[in-house]
């Protein structure tokens, strides 16, 4: 089935729960209402015409400049039986984002969801083991959010050079950290109001 047929099948079954779609972009997707994602995903997996038995990728993304500001979770699905692919998306508010976990449908969702939690702070309700995945357990914050600021300290260690350190270095002292004309990589992002 092509993307259009898959989208029609989903809207035919779920109606208003499919809140949007983009079938023109390189990887077509449909936007699903957050509360319906488990039902839609289950249907995608069990329906014999769709038969999406494989979850290829689960990615979080942050869109603070959209109205309303939102997080997205993108599920890339593949059917080994039919060979077609499609993507589902959910939009989450930037305050307390939460969506139901899909680890009971596709086992691999467990780790992908942990990573999305780690990087974006998206809570996956019903997840059996929602811990940090790549960052240390005592890390504070979620660095792939667009309003992320690098911390000054980690466990009492300077992780960002300070103005005083820069002065000492300018005075010829070797202090072993740099670079000193350092601007946070996300300085171009406006603070959320």
């Amino acid at each position: 089935m092509d993307a259009k047929a898959i989208h029609e099948r989903l809207t035919g079954r779920f109606g208003e729960k499919i809140t949007g779609a983009n079938l023109e972009t390189a990887s077509p997707f449909a936007v699903v209402a957050t509360e319906a994602i488990v039902d839609v995903a289950e249907f995608c997996k069990s329906d014999p015409d769709l038969a999406f038995d494989n979850l290829m990728c689960l990615a979080g993304a942050d869109y603070p400049k959209e109205t309303p500001p939102r997080f997205e979770v993108v599920y890339q699905l593949l059917s080994y039986e039919h060979g077609h692919t499609f993507a589902l998306k959910v939009h989450l508010p930037r305050e307390n984002p939460a969506v139901a976990s899909l680890e009971n449908l596709w086992g691999v969702a467990n780790w992908h969801e942990r990573e999305a939690y780690d990087m974006f702070g998206i809570a996956f309700t019903g997840h059996s083991d929602l811990r940090r995945m790549l960052l240390p357990d005592d890390w504070v914050g979620h660095p792939l959010r667009k309003d992320w600021q690098d911390p000054e300290f980690y466990n009492g260690m300077h992780v960002k050079p300070t103005a005083q350190m820069a002065e000492r270095a300018m005075g010829g002292e070797k202090i072993g950290v740099g670079p000193f004309d350092f601007t946070p990589p996300n300085a171009h992002v406006e603070e959320p109001a």
Partner: protein
């Protein structure tokens, strides 16, 4: 004065089973068989693993954060460092994803050059996988043979683009350097030795070795449905008996022009999907890649040469949109999810679906009930590279 002599054979002391209680064993992060810095927490009862929990992240290098802060071509050197054993495959996937986003179609000449490089890289990567797997299980010699021949491939790469491991070779819209004069001849020379000596030797020395078969053929069996649920791809999936290869299913880079087979695990010495099958699939793929390179070299000779920088854009600025592009890297399906906002020259979001990451996520299911020594056989057979898991 005879006292009653108490006769005791000592057997009674040993009739009771040895006291065993559960113990949590830390394996790694510096364990040589974990292929990088990977730590397992194993709950053991004697030699049997009751539960296992992998801990990853020791090599986390903020790839996705970095990618948002450099321009599109600037991401390519970072992709090289994901799976540092198979850099060509990583940058190829990324370049193709951005090209798809921008609607660039490179010339058949450049495509064929990319295929040759990707397949040579697949051979080099499988050499490391199979060689170190043998070493993990105690066979040292095949490893040396594999690395000896891998050197020859790295020499070809160095001759072409100056680097031996991290190439920055596949650019958006082309490749960094054209093949040097005489490359075709040298590559054919390499393949002649490779086909005649290396592959048969490897099969003789390692794969058909009785001890090797006994160690691997009944261990770590992954049924197909489990493999699909946990998104195992590449040789791990084909080892379970499902013949799926993105080069066949959704050809990119002109792979549809080449004849090659997709090997699957057959379970010659045990159940289908065992460690042996996964490793055996890699060995057969060594020969299949050679077939592809032969055809690509022939095609290249007949082909009109084009400038390899012809389609490289002055400024890589894709229109607003998003793409999920998957390609068949040596370790399985490598997917790039790229979002372009249409205004900046930096990617808005880059997410890598790494085949090793998903392969490692099934580990706790398989490890249950295994012997500790078999854990080593299992990790090696999944062929994980930690640089790609941790990104």
């Amino acid at each position: 004065m005879a006292t009653a002599l108490k006769l005791d054979s000592g057997a009674a002391d040993w009739r009771v089973d040895v006291d065993s209680e559960e113990m949590v064993l830390n394996m790694g992060p510096q364990h040589p068989a974990t292929h990088g810095v990977l730590r397992f927490e194993l709950k053991t009862d004697g030699e049997v693993v009751k539960a296992a929990r992998p801990h990853i992240g020791y090599l986390h290098r903020c790839f996705e954060k970095h990618a948002e802060n450099v321009d599109y071509p600037g991401v390519i050197p970072y992709t090289d460092r994901l799976d540092y054993v198979a850099s060509m495959g990583n940058s190829l996937g990324y370049a193709l994803a951005v090209e798809k986003l921008m609607g660039i179609e490179v010339s058949p000449y450049v495509q064929t050059v990319r295929v040759i490089m990707a397949e040579l890289q697949r051979i080099a990567s499988h050499f490391v996988a199979v060689g170190t797997y043998g070493m993990d299980l105690g066979a040292f010699t095949p490893f040396l043979h594999c690395l000896r021949d891998r050197e020859k491939i790295l020499d070809l790469f160095e001759w072409t683009c100056g680097a031996r491991l991290l190439y920055n070779y596949n650019w958006v819209g082309g490749v960094s350097h054209d093949l040097p004069d005489g490359f075709l001849r040298a590559c054919r020379q390499f393949l002649r030795e490779y086909d005649a000596i290396t592959v048969p030797e490897l099969l003789d020395l390692l794969i058909t070795n009785k001890i090797f078969i006994k160690r691997t053929a009944e261990v770590g069996v992954i049924p197909v449905d489990l493999a699909i649920s946990y998104d195992l791809t590449g040789p791990n999936l084909r080892g379970s008996g499902l013949a799926r290869d993105i080069r066949k299913d959704q050809p990119y880079c002109g792979y549809e022009r080449f004849q090659f087979d997709v090997p699957v695990g057959k379970g010659q010495f045990g159940p289908v999907g065992s460690c042996f099958d996964r490793n055996w699939v890699r060995c057969v793929e060594l020969a299949e890649s050679s077939k592809i390179i032969h055809q690509a070299l022939d095609a290249l000779e007949r082909m009109e040469k084009t400038d390899v920088h012809e389609k490289v854009p002055k400024r890589v600025k894709p229109p607003k949109g998003e793409v999920y592009f998957r390609s068949e890297a040596p370790r399985g399906q490598l997917g790039y999810y790229i979002v372009a906002d249409g205004t900046g020259v930096n990617p808005y979001r880059v997410k890598v679906k790494s085949p090793c990451f998903t392969a490692m996520s099934v580990f706790h299911v398989l490890a249950k009930g295994m012997y500790i020594a078999d854990i080593i056989a299992l990790i090696g057979s999944m062929d994980v590279v930690l640089g790609e898991i941790d990104r």
